[in-house]
Each structure stands twice: as C-alpha cells, then as structure tokens.
C-alpha cells in the first residue's frame, strides 16, 4: 500500500512544487485512489500498436526473400510447409533469422534505454562501455588460436562479459556512490572508465589484426558490421529479451525517479547503488547476447529509445517495453531489406538500420521540435 513509489511522488510534489505541471506529476494518482501506473490504458495502447506493427513486419519478413521463390509460394508454404523449397526457405531460413533479428533488435534497444537511464547521457548506446570491442577481442583471440565457429562465438560472449565485469569492478565505487551534485553530468567516472576500456580493446583488435599470422579480415567483417545470416540459434536472444524485460518491469517506476538524479532518488527512498548495479548488469547481459548472436549492429540501441521518447514520453514504464517491441520490429524490417533489396547479394544490416532510422528520426525530431 505505502510503496516507495507513492512516497516518492508525494515527497516529490512537496519538494518540487514547480514541477507539478509535468505530465508525471499531474497524472500521479491522488492518495485515496488505489495505485495504478500513470496512463496505464495509454501504455497498453502504445504497446498494442507497436506489437501489431512488429507482427506485421515479421509476417512480411516470412513472405519476402529470394526472387526465385514467389510471395504466393511463400504464403502457401507458410500454411502447409510440406517438403517444398518454399517451405524450407520459410521455416528453416526465414523464421529462425527473423526471430533472431527480433530478439537482437529488442535487446539492443532495451540495452540502449537502460544505458541512457544509467549514465543520464543522451549519447549512451549499448556499446558505449566497450562491450562490443571486448566481444571482438574475444572472437578474434579465438580465431587466432584456430578455433572453430562455436569456440569463436564462445570467445565473443566471454570477451563481452569479461569487458563489462572489468568496467563493473573498476567503476564499482562510482556505481555505489551518490552524486550529490545534480547540475553536472552524474556519471562521469563510469562513462570515462567504459570509454577508456573501449579504446583499449580497439587497440588490441588492431594489434591482433596486424600481428595475426593469417589476417582474416573477412571474419572480422562480421564483428564490425553485424550479420544475421549465419545465426545458428534463434532462441537465446528472444529468451534473454523476455527475461530482462520481465526482471526490469517491477523496477521501472524507480527508474523514473533515478532520472531525477541520484540524490533526489535516494531522498525518495530508492536504493540507488543496488538499482544502478541492476541496470548495469541487465544492459551488459542484453548487449552481450545481442553481440554474440549477430555481431555489432549499430544504431538500433541509440536511436530507438530516443525516437520512442519523442513519441510516447520519457516514462520508463511505457518506454522500456515499447523499446523491446519497436527495436525488434525495426531490426526485422532492416534485415528483410538487407537480404532482399539486392538479392542474391546481401547488404550489411547496420547500413540498412541507419538508412531507415536516420531520416525517420530526424523528421520526428523536426516535427516535435
């Protein structure tokens, strides 16, 4: 009944009367009514619309493909696969790839959203703390010892997690500390630690590429640009996405308070260090799974949270699940375009996400001013 959130809002209204005009403050429930998240109906509406778009994208992705397999054949094969060529294409190639794309896109957008909350920095993206270069070091290191694809994937996962563990240990004091000042950027040490490690990993990658006996730049391409074509297992990304969103859901109200600054959040009863550690770990796992599944796909993690913020506001309770759905949908669309536009050739999916996303985001930015 007397949740931290309610205390938070009550205290907040008392200490910041001038902020009452803000949507969060005005829509906060009054004390007599049973608690319900602000604008719950609206949140459900936003999610439903996004989910409908995402499902439509998945459906189209299953129908489009090689020019040798018509849309009609694909549609027929979708209903009854049988032993046909179209059936194999739809169920064995397109479906796993599309599901992996959805999971990866969702993970990247959620990770970007989490990083932007944690660092309170609009430029934060899933890779800002050096995770992708850590994964590249792990993968290339495995290739250096002549390891096969499985070991290389494992190396990438190990590199990504080792990298975030290193950031965690080095910046733990920073995660645990309360920044009393709210006038300057709040997490300078954490972000600087991450950026420095990223630079260091980048140098290690260059060093490996120069010194390696066989400079397999083609293998390196995958880790630099990302590709969903060789996805072996589709479920880890989707499972990780579901788990992370489920774990974050009960905490999203506290995220809102955290965005007001550490000191404010602590005053309002949020256990700031624990919450920050949770965000860091969740974002790291999300990014590690995404990078291991599909390499480093840029743009989704940076822009999807920002675009949605412009559309649905900065209430994390609405925003984070929306990111999971929209990020997944965007990557499904981008990947479908990447494999069909110049069929039978294939474009790097990161290029397509940028081509779709940059104009869309800029027009949104100009329209909403």
């Amino acid at each position: 009944m007397d949740s931290p959130q309610r205390q938070a809002y009550a205290a907040h209204r008392m200490t910041h009367p001038e902020r009452r005009a803000r949507p969060e403050a005005t829509s906060a429930p009054d004390d007599s009514a049973p608690y319900r998240p602000a604008g719950f109906a609206r949140a459900v509406a936003v999610w439903t619309v996004l989910l409908a778009c995402a499902l439509a994208a998945v459906f189209v992705a299953l129908l489009l493909g090689s020019s040798d397999i018509g849309i009609g054949d694909s549609l027929a094969a979708l209903v009854s696969p049988g032993d046909s060529l179209a059936g194999a294409a739809v169920y064995q190639l397109r479906l796993p790839r599309t599901l992996a794309a959805f999971g990866t896109g969702g993970l990247l957008a959620v990770a970007g959203c989490l990083m932007q909350v944690l660092l309170r920095n609009p430029l934060a993206d899933p890779y800002i703390l050096g995770l992708s270069s850590g994964a590249a070091v792990g993968a290339l290191g495995a290739m250096l010892f002549g390891a096969g694809l499985v070991a290389v994937t494992f190396g990438a996962a190990a590199g990504a997690l080792a990298s975030s563990l290193l950031v965690f240990v080095l910046a733990n004091r920073d995660l645990a500390r309360l920044h009393i000042s709210t006038t300057v950027v709040d997490s300078p040490r954490l972000i600087l630690t991450g950026v420095m490690l990223a630079a260091g990993w980048g140098a290690v990658v260059t060093l490996i590429l120069v010194l390696a006996p066989e400079r397999n730049l083609r293998g390196m391409l995958f880790w630099a640009m990302g590709d969903l074509g060789g996805v072996e297992r589709w479920w880890p990304a989707l499972a990780a996405l579901a788990l992370i969103v489920a774990a974050a859901m009960p905490l999203l109200r506290q995220f809102n308070v955290l965005l007001r600054g550490d000191a404010v959040a602590a005053t309002l009863g949020v256990r700031v260090p624990a919450l920050k550690r949770f965000i860091f770990v969740a974002a790291s796992i999300a990014t590690a799974v995404a990078v291991t599944t599909a390499g480093t796909i840029g743009f989704v993690g940076l822009v999807v949270p920002h675009a949605l913020r412009l559309l649905v506001g900065n209430d994390q309770r609405v925003l984070l699940p929306a990111c999971a759905i929209a990020g997944g949908g965007l990557l499904v669309v981008a990947d479908t375009a990447a494999r069909t536009i110049v069929d039978p050739l294939q474009l790097p999916v990161g290029v397509v996400t940028a081509f779709i996303g940059v104009p869309a985001f800029l027009s949104l930015l100009l329209r909403t001013r």
Binding site: A89, Q92, L93, E214, R215, R218, F222, R339, L345
Partner: protein
C-alpha cells in the same frame, strides 16, 4: 640522396652487362624496363614470392612480405611488412632493383613514394590460370632466368591442359563455392577459383554477380539448389555444418558438402594447380554421388 648513388650503380651494372634493356608489359598494362636482369628483388605478397621462386629467380629475392610461408627457404629472407603496412626504409635499405607487387593490394600511395627512388615495379595480377604462366615468363625475363621460367610456365600449362582434357567435358555440375561462412561469401566468374571450377566441368552458380567476392544470402543458395557445396575449412572448423539440416538442398541430401584439403586455391601461384586438381577430383566424386542419387 639515394638517387645519384642508385643512378651510378645502375650505370655501372648496365655497362658491365652491356646488355639490351629488358622490357615486359605487366598485368596493369604498364611497361617495365630494366637495364639489366634484376638481382635484388623485393616481393610484396606471398603469392608473388612463390611466383619468383617458381620462375627460377629465388636466389635473387632480397626481401619478402609478411606471411610468407612457401617455399620454405623464402622464410629466411628479410621481410618488409605486408601490403597494408610496408616498411619503406626497410625496402630502400635492401637496395632493390625490382619490386614485385600483387596489384590486388591497396598500396598505391606507398608505391607512389617508391617512384621517387626510381625502383621499377612489376604488377602481377593473374585473373585466369593461364595468366599465372604469363607472370612466370615475365618474371623469368626480368631476372634473366628465362629457361627455368619457361619450363615452369610450360609445366603449368600442361597440367592445366591435362585437367581440361580430362574433366572439362564431363556432365556439368552446379557448384556453390563458399569462401567464408559468416558472413556468407563466394566468388564471381572473374575470380580465378571460378576458372578452376570451369576447368573441372563445374558451373559457378553465382558466376554472374558483379562483386568479385560477393556476400550472398543463404536463401539465394537454397533457391539455386547447387549440386555441390565446396569450401576450405580452417583448422578445427566445419563451415558446412549449417547446410546439413536443409533437406530440400540436393547437396546436403546427396552427401555433396565437400571440404577441400588444399588451401592453395586462395593463392595465384603454380601451387594453384594442386588446389585445382583436388577440386576436380572432389567435383567428380560429387558427380558420381549425384548420379547414384538419381537412380
């Protein structure tokens, strides 16, 4: 500073040899002229090093590139870096009278700088198997080892002819050559591997694509349904595992997912023929399995 010295050296050598200037046209269409046979050759790619040794001029190699691994004696020669990172001072200090470049490298800026020192550069970029023979005879001419080079070139042409006579006329077999699994890459018809496939009576399913080493999507392979999928696996790799589960793919159901045992198809040198022979044998076995499956 070096120019007068080099000039004097070149003059002395040319007077001593009193020979006609040597001249060949390289694969970039440039005329390379030497006053006397090259005696200090710097090779900037493993493949050109192999070519020089095969042309009988191994004794005159003064510098090689990184990753030089064949022939074994070439490993003892000083290295000057690779195409991406050439150590200019090292090259100049070796006082070469000929630099041999595989032109598929983006070292144009570096080679521009080398022009200042007046060192002749020969570009070798064989496109077809027979072009390897041209590179061999050219290098033999430049190093004055014409006879050895002609023998190597003839040997190469004969081996090619033999394969052609034996395999080129056999029933066509549609081939997907997998260069790399992730991302999925293949070769187009301009690439020398396609020449080897044709030599073995195969048809490259992606021969018509524009890029030399295109990235293709898996579905295009499934739709084209090749008779055989060929790749060279690195150590401990199985790049073909991803195809095994696809039951509509003829190559998978006929047992025609074939790992090659020789890595030399990646290198335009006389050893390319070893790879081509291996490829022809494997494609012929695949042809038999196709025939058995059809019964």
């Amino acid at each position: 500073m070096f120019r007068p010295a080099l000039f004097t050296l070149a003059t002395v050598v040319s007077f001593a040899a009193r020979a006609e200037p040597i001249s060949v046209v390289d694969d970039a269409g440039r005329t390379v002229t030497l006053a006397a046979p090259a005696r200090r050759i710097v090779s900037l790619a493993p493949s050109t090093t192999e070519l020089i040794y095969a042309a009988g001029a191994g004794a005159y190699v003064a510098g090689t590139s990184s990753y030089t691994d064949y022939p074994p004696e070439a490993k003892a020669v000083p290295q000057v870096g690779d195409a991406a990172m050439i150590n200019m001072e090292r090259i100049v200090s070796l006082k070469p009278d000929l630099i041999v470049v595989w032109s598929h490298v983006d070292s144009a800026a570096v080679l521009e700088k080398l022009k200042v020192f007046g060192i002749p550069v020969y570009y070798s970029e064989p496109r077809k198997i027979v072009d390897i023979a041209k590179s061999l005879t050219d290098l033999g001419t430049l190093a004055g080892t014409n006879e050895a080079a002609a023998r190597a070139a003839n040997d190469l042409r004969e081996r090619r002819e033999k394969l052609h006579a034996r395999y080129a006329g056999r029933p066509p077999i549609r081939v997907f050559y997998q260069v790399w699994e992730r991302p999925l890459m293949t070769v187009n018809g301009q690439q020398m591997i396609s020449d080897a496939i044709a030599l073995c009576g195969g048809v490259n399913i992606f021969g018509d694509l524009a890029p030399t080493v295109p990235t293709v999507n898996r579905e295009a392979v499934v739709a084209a349904n090749p008779d055989v999928i060929v790749t060279f696996n690195g150590e401990g790799e199985d790049g073909l595992a991803g195809w095994k589960s696809l039951t509509t793919l003829n190559a998978a159901t006929w047992g025609n997912l074939v790992p090659l045992s020789t890595p030399t198809l990646g290198r335009p040198s006389p050893r390319f023929l070893d790879g081509a022979e291996n490829l022809c044998v494997e494609l012929d076995r695949a042809r038999e399995r196709r025939g058995a499956a059809a019964k």
